[in-house]
């Protein structure tokens, strides 16, 4: 009997040990995250880590609808300046602090007023927050803000423990305390961020993993090799050129979805002296450049067809894509005619800067070859990324091949780039009509009103082309075939609800 007990116990322990090992999901990220403080954070990979670590007031579904997370219900006042949210009951932060309306007030206050907060512009429309009762919170706005819920579905809506925030101050990022499915264990710079299952999570039934570890591995080839060698269970941003080989590998599962972002060429039309060049002054020249590009061929050549050709700030087929302006067919004759009309029948020179990595350089080389056939001779200036950004802000460019990772609400993909005072308007484009339309679109919660305003702005922007959109990258994840339950979202985040090992 004693013997049988010992054997049984040993078997049990062995089984548990094996199980515990198998239940740790190791995810390879493209970069290392920056400081792990939701209010100070700036990087994309940081957001991936938060998705496991922190819950938000609301979330999105794969179709970008806003769905409940920590807030179970919400309603707008008639004039759309008051948002009343009902909060989920029985939620606790990782340090045991209960989640309630006071916690929401403290969090929004921190996003707005913490001296090192990077969320200030995202919550700028909020003029007041009050706890109506323990589980009801009312947010007051200066004027209607269509983007608010989308902001609250990202870092601005992530709830951190007010107790921990108070105690740790600006140091919060060294040991973040949230209320998400996993709690923080340790972080070694440029090596690993380790999280473990939070037993008191409100949605614990959906969490099947014991631990999750994020490992930054910048090189895409090495990241894939690590996955194939079994040192990782999942990787994000598989290179498009590796897609086919990964799909043919029976040991791997590949999931992809068109992202929210875009890549394009930002043209300098009003940012300093270089905008005085012909391409900055004559819209028809920019139209000619756009017409000379075969966006489908570009996608086939550089990305083996894995991405989505595009010509607007949002991908074709989404709500705010203007169907009246489909992705243009290449038309070299029309491009030549436009050049001739503008007085450049013999061809014209253009300098475009591009980030000095192989993929983006190849994109520009393909564009260069296509444009040359229409008489536009592009000189490519490969530039290290930090320098590229500086030259772009300073207006030291004619054209700049650059992109945007995309935002849940369409406003984040367009307003700050083409409005006169826009924070990232490197193009220097300024048209009061566009400002008026885009302001109207961001201050209405009525999709019909917004659609009409965006479509009207598209008529002007498609003519002026301050940004020539080229394509929309897809998010591509690869994982071991025994990982199941992963669902792709267009925001590129990794949501771990339902993810499990099938051993």
């Amino acid at each position: 009997m004693r013997f049988m007990q010992t054997v049984g116990a040993a078997a049990l322990i062995a089984a548990m040990a094996a199980g515990a090992h198998a239940q740790e999901l190791r995810i390879g990220l493209q970069d290392d995250a920056d400081v792990l403080d939701t209010d100070q954070s700036r990087t994309f990979v940081g957001r991936i880590v938060y998705t496991a670590l922190c819950d938000k007031l609301v979330d999105i579904d794969p179709d970008l609808n806003i769905v409940p997370q920590l807030a179970t219900d919400w309603s707008w006042s008639d004039d759309e300046t008051e948002l009343t949210m009902t909060l989920r009951e029985g939620v606790v932060f990782h340090d045991g602090t209960p989640f309630n309306a006071d916690a929401v007030v403290a969090n929004i206050d921190r996003s707005q007023n913490h001296p090192e907060s990077r969320r200030k512009s995202e919550v700028a429309s909020i003029t007041g927050v009050e706890a109506v009762d323990e589980f009801t919170v009312r947010i007051t706005l200066g004027e209607p803000d269509a983007t608010l819920l989308a902001q609250l579905s990202d870092r601005a809506g992530m709830m951190i423990s007010p107790t921990a925030a108070e105690e740790m101050g600006a140091d919060f990022g060294s040991a973040p305390v949230c209320s998400g499915p996993f709690r923080f264990v340790e972080r070694v710079q440029q090596d690993r961020i380790a999280l473990e299952r939070f037993e008191d999570y409100w949605n614990a039934d959906e969490i099947h993993l014991e631990a999750v570890t994020f490992l930054p591995i910048p090189d895409t080839t090495v990241r894939l090799a690590n996955l194939r060698a079994g040192d990782l269970d999942m990787i994000e941003r598989l290179a498009a050129t590796d897609l086919a080989s990964a799909q043919n590998d029976a040991n791997l599962t590949v999931v992809d979805i068109t992202g929210l972002g875009y890549q394009g060429i930002t043209m300098n039309v009003g940012n300093g002296p270089l905008s005085e060049e012909p391409f900055g002054q004559d819209a028809p020249l920019r139209q000619a450049l756009s017409l000379s590009i075969d966006r489908n061929a570009l996608n086939q050549v550089v990305f083996e067809g894995a991405f989505t050709p595009g010509n607007q700030p949002v991908p074709p087929g989404t709500t705010y894509y203007d169907e009246r302006f489909p992705v243009p067919e290449r038309d070299v004759e029309a491009a030549r005619a436009l050049l001739a009309e503008a007085g450049y029948a013999d061809g014209i020179e253009l300098t475009v800067q591009v980030a000095n990595n192989p993929v983006q350089t190849q994109v520009m080389e393909v564009v260069q070859a296509m444009a040359a056939e229409a008489g536009i001779n592009i000189s490519i200036r490969a530039t290290e990324f930090a320098t590229l950004l500086q030259q772009q802000t300073a207006g030291e460019f004619q054209g700049s091949q650059v992109g945007w990772s995309g935002r849940t609400d369409v406003d984040g993909n367009i307003h700050q780039f083409v409005t006169c005072e826009g924070g990232i308007n490197d193009s220097g484009f300024c048209d009061p009509r566009v400002d008026e339309l885009l302001d109207r679109a961001r201050t209405s919660n009525d999709p019909a009103v917004r659609k009409e305003a965006y479509d009207a702005s598209r008529e002007i922007l498609n003519e002026e082309l301050p940004i020539i959109y080229l394509y929309h990258p897809s998010w591509i994840w690869a994982m071991n075939a025994n990982v199941e339950g992963f669902e792709a979202y267009p925001d590129g985040m990794i949501r771990l609800e339902g993810v499990r090992f099938n051993d």
């Binding site: 990077r118 990022g173 490992l215 930090a386 500086q390």
Partner: protein, 315 residues
């Protein structure tokens, strides 16, 4: 003796000062605005301004320099602009990792380079010599990053013998630590083995022609004893010096190797810091490395004096 060390230390002060100015200015010469790299995608002007303010980037260069050097003199290398961690603790955390890599690589380099050098000297002009030279030249010519990726594909993906990443500190998990370091140390070691092999070979050739080796042979000693006991000892003196010098090269080579094998060491820290324009980290690392080099030189000079009495009278 003490006077010598004291004098050298005094000379080191202006050297370190000049290096600190140099490091600081080099950073500022780099194109690219650090606050743009810091602000991330949403680089709205208010954020940029606040960041400039916070890190004194609006002040004149000379004022910025004194902010930095003032703190350094108090033992504070500043905070990483990117992760808000103290630079001093970042460096202390990464240094042992790279040191482990360098030591293991040196073992590979010596283990491969010296025996090959001996063989090719002893069998000069034979096929063994040609093979050794070929291998040495290949080691020098094959880029680290290429050999590294090929090794990962062969050893980790196809054979599954060694993990491709997942380094653990030696103190936490020694077996795993050495497993993950084997390939990077080999990659780094092969390049240096080539240099060592060439030096060993030429030193051996010189020694083998000398009178005392001829005498040893004339005495009727067995060839193995002549080579291993009499010739090699003397030939190794310059090789040991070269090995010590190679240590600096190892640190430089670690930069690339650590990137490929994702080893969280010094090299990876400095590369990431440069691309993120994390001024505080880059300045801290270069300053610490320079001071380390000055100290190493001083140590070498002192050791020389101890070993070689003839140098003691020199001022």
């Amino acid at each position: 003796m003490l006077a010598f060390i004291g004098r050298r230390l005094l000379i080191a002060i202006p050297t370190v000062f000049i290096i600190s100015v140099f490091v600081f200015l080099l950073q500022k010469l780099l194109p690219g605005d650090p606050v743009l790299a810091l602000a991330g995608e949403d680089r709205d002007p208010a954020t940029l301004e606040a960041l400039r303010e916070m890190y004194h980037l609006n002040e004149p260069l000379i004022v910025q320099y004194f902010y930095w050097i003032g703190a350094v003199l108090q033992g504070d290398l500043g905070m990483s602009l990117r992760t808000n961690q103290p630079v001093t603790s970042l460096i202390l955390e990464k240094l042992p990792v790279t040191f482990q890599l360098a030591v293991m690589a040196l073992i590979f380099a010596v283990g491969i380079g010296v025996p090959m050098g001996i063989l090719s000297a002893v069998y000069k002009g034979s096929w063994l010599d040609y093979i050794a030279n070929f291998v040495a030249l290949s080691g020098l010519s094959i880029p680290n990053f290429w050999l590294g990726i090929l090794l990962i594909l062969l050893v980790s993906v196809n054979l599954g013998w060694l993990p491709a990443s997942g380094y653990r500190p030696f103190t936490v998990d020694p077996v795993r630590s050495i497993e993950t370091m084997l390939m990077p140390a080999f990659v780094l070691g092969t390049a240096l083995a080539a240099t060592l092999m060439r030096h060993t070979r030429s030193a051996m050739l010189t020694v083998l022609k000398s009178d005392y080796v001829r005498t040893a042979r004339a005495k009727g000693l067995r060839e193995r004893v002549v080579i291993m006991k009499h010739a090699l000892r003397n030939a190794l003196v310059p090789v040991v010096t070269v090995s010590a010098l190679l240590f600096g090269e190892l640190l430089a080579g670690a930069v690339l190797t650590e990137q490929i094998f994702t080893i969280p060491g010094f090299g990876k820290l400095v590369v990431d810091a440069v691309f993120n324009r994390d001024y505080a980290v880059v300045q801290g690392i270069v300053l610490v490395t320079s001071v380390g080099f000055i100290l190493m030189n001083l140590l070498a000079d002192t050791a020389y004096m101890i070993l070689n009495p003839r140098m003691r009278d020199q001022k």
